[in-house]
Amino acid sequence: MNKRLKSVLCLMLVAAMLLTACAGGNTNSSNGNSAEKDTLNYAISGEPSTFDPHNISDNIAKQVFNQIFDRLIRQEADGTLTPGLAENWELSEDGKSITFKIRKDVKFHNGETMTADDVVFSLNRAIQSKYLQEYVSMMEEAEKIDDETVTLTTKYAYGPIEYCVAKIDIVNKAAVEADPEGFGRQPIGTGAYKFIELKSGDKIIAERFDDYYRGKAPIKNLVFKIITDSSTAVVALENGEVDLLSQPALADRQNLINNDKVLYYETELNGNNYIAFNNTEGMFNNQKLREAISYAIDKESMLLGAIEGAGVAVDNAIPRVSFGYSDKVKGNPYDPEKAKQLLAEAGYPDGFSIKLKTMDSATYYKPTEVLQDQLAQIGITAEIEKMERGAYLSDVYSNAIYDMTVMSMVYEITDADAIYAFFHSDMIENGQNFFRVNNPELDKLLDAGRSSTDEAKRKEIYEKVGQLLNDEVVLIPLYSYMVGVAVNKDLKGVQASSIQYYEVFSFSW
């Protein structure tokens, strides 16, 4: 026993030493030669549940789909629209239909040529999808006119229809019909990279598609590494194990900017943080009270306290980078004295206690903590209730069981119409009007903005919308924040994107 145990222990030690030694050599050589790099490791923070783009509503999945699929209209990193799978398109006179001329030289990953049938099939499949209603709720039907022409009709004239078309991925009809369930595990698109395999929880492997209609991508292999812990993702980037990390935590921003192995690009996000009120149920149906709160908010210190100053204080609910934003829209200034006075007028001379629901994400709870402090200044005692994401969304978003909350909103569409779903009274039952605001004047303006195609007129309308939302203090816009992408310093062609659109096709080593 004695001798045997001893020899086993010795063997184990030797084995461990040997293994560590040769392994050490391995990493050094793989990290050493970046000159012949032909792989890009793209960090994503979770695993998409499916690769069927019409059956998922998930920002992580979209980062993968951006490489595997294409759309009729492309929305570039800066938000502008350019032709994609459609050579050109035309809006009808009444604005209720849009006709696309389809490219003839586009191949799917399975070798088939893309036809008008694939396009019609994809559009109609997306229109039916519960997951994509944000983009397709106004669409009626797609129809094939001839082999190169497809017409999409809408239920009503819809100004920003092109942005919505730019969100619909075109899939291979035959592949979906052959195995609708399996398509989610083996997707076939037209994108610059073709899907190879998913290693559950670890990585997603994709490879350059040599017949891509815009040419061959410079980087051959694309690997999405699933890294859920944000600190680990940053270390992996610094260590060269991943080459691209989109939207790193704001706490890591300065560290990444200072790091000489990493380049950090940033731009303003198409969205903002704001204080939302339940305008009809509960204490905040009292406009005086909402006004009182609006004078109690110091947006500049909110900006510093919540996101370390990496953003801009705003007065307009419409994001700064969206069409329809105007800086003429003004909110109430910070004036705690006036706030106290209004509070008394609203019937709360001695303040009150309130619960602030928030969720377990720094984007939400940090500004909520600052809000708690600022409310205390005018005698309101706020208690923070940190909830699980699912519970928070179900309470606040689906059922409007809240009084006041700090919400963070990111819009996919760089057009002011994106806010329609939140503020129109039709959206109380079936949309996202969790403000429960029901204001006929606001409805009228939102309808007019949606159906008009005259840019100057729309600008004017949305200026009025922004001001009206402030005058009635439906919400208090706080700040818009910076969004970044951190990449290996040798990676070329990267550009920060306000809509989080990163196309590996345009990158090279």
Binding site: M1, T50, D58, S200, D202, D229, V235, N239, R389
Partner: protein, 310 residues
Amino acid sequence: MLKYILKRIVMMVPVIIGISFLIFAIMNLTPGDPARLMLGESASNEDVEALREEMGLNDNFFVRYFNYLKGAVQGDFGVSYRSKVPVFNELFSRFPSTLKLAFGATVIMVVIGIPVGVISAVKQYSIIDNISLFSAFLLTSMPAFWLGLMLILIFALHLGWFPATGVDGFINFVLPCITLAAAMLASLIRMTRSSMLEVIRQDYIRTAKAKGAGERRLIMKHSLRNALLPVITIIGMNFASMLGGTMIIESVFAMPGLGTMTITAVRMKDTPLVIASVVFVAIAISLMNLLVDILYTYIDPRLRTQYSKR
């Protein structure tokens, strides 16, 4: 013996049913809606409601649990709400990494823990004993995520010896296994030490010493073998609990294990997947306990005769 094993396995059935009911109830009674989580913030209530209907979430709680149980008895444990893949496929695609991690950590734990524990006991109150006890305390007190990040910073980022993420090869498992072993090492060292101390004071050790047995023989053969019973229990329990996945370590080192899968499933309210992974852990722990009990009889002849009498 065989009868005993069978009895133990049969006894697991009510435990598993109880656990599945408990998890089912917890997942249903806590706030949060899987349909809303799947469709995202921007989906309308109407669509969420339609998906709930489609997923059968609107049926009565007991009806749903009964249906689930009916399927489970026939071997159908349901599909994941999110990925629509049968839950056991999901489970087993993640299991290899977790198994490797647990195994590696156990090996490190045993190779370091038992010798250190024995030395500590033999040289009680010496400097070596104090140092080993102190480091054991230190290691237990360090949160795993912190230790993991520190190891990454030192050995991955500065020295470049090991990768920080992934599961591609042996090398990827070194840092996570060390982190995992560190947390469990303390209990093993302390258990080995106290168990050894107890045995060393027994009469038969004194007798052996009086008979002139060498110190090595005395420690290895006479003491250690007798001291191993509680030590094996600890190793078995630790190993079993690691099989359930170690969320923090898997998350810090970006490993595709059961832990990260379970935590995602809980967040997404993916009830079938949560039940499957918890039941899986329960079975693993029960089997591990059984295995430890069987091992006892090999180590301790007294128990062997007890079982054979039955």
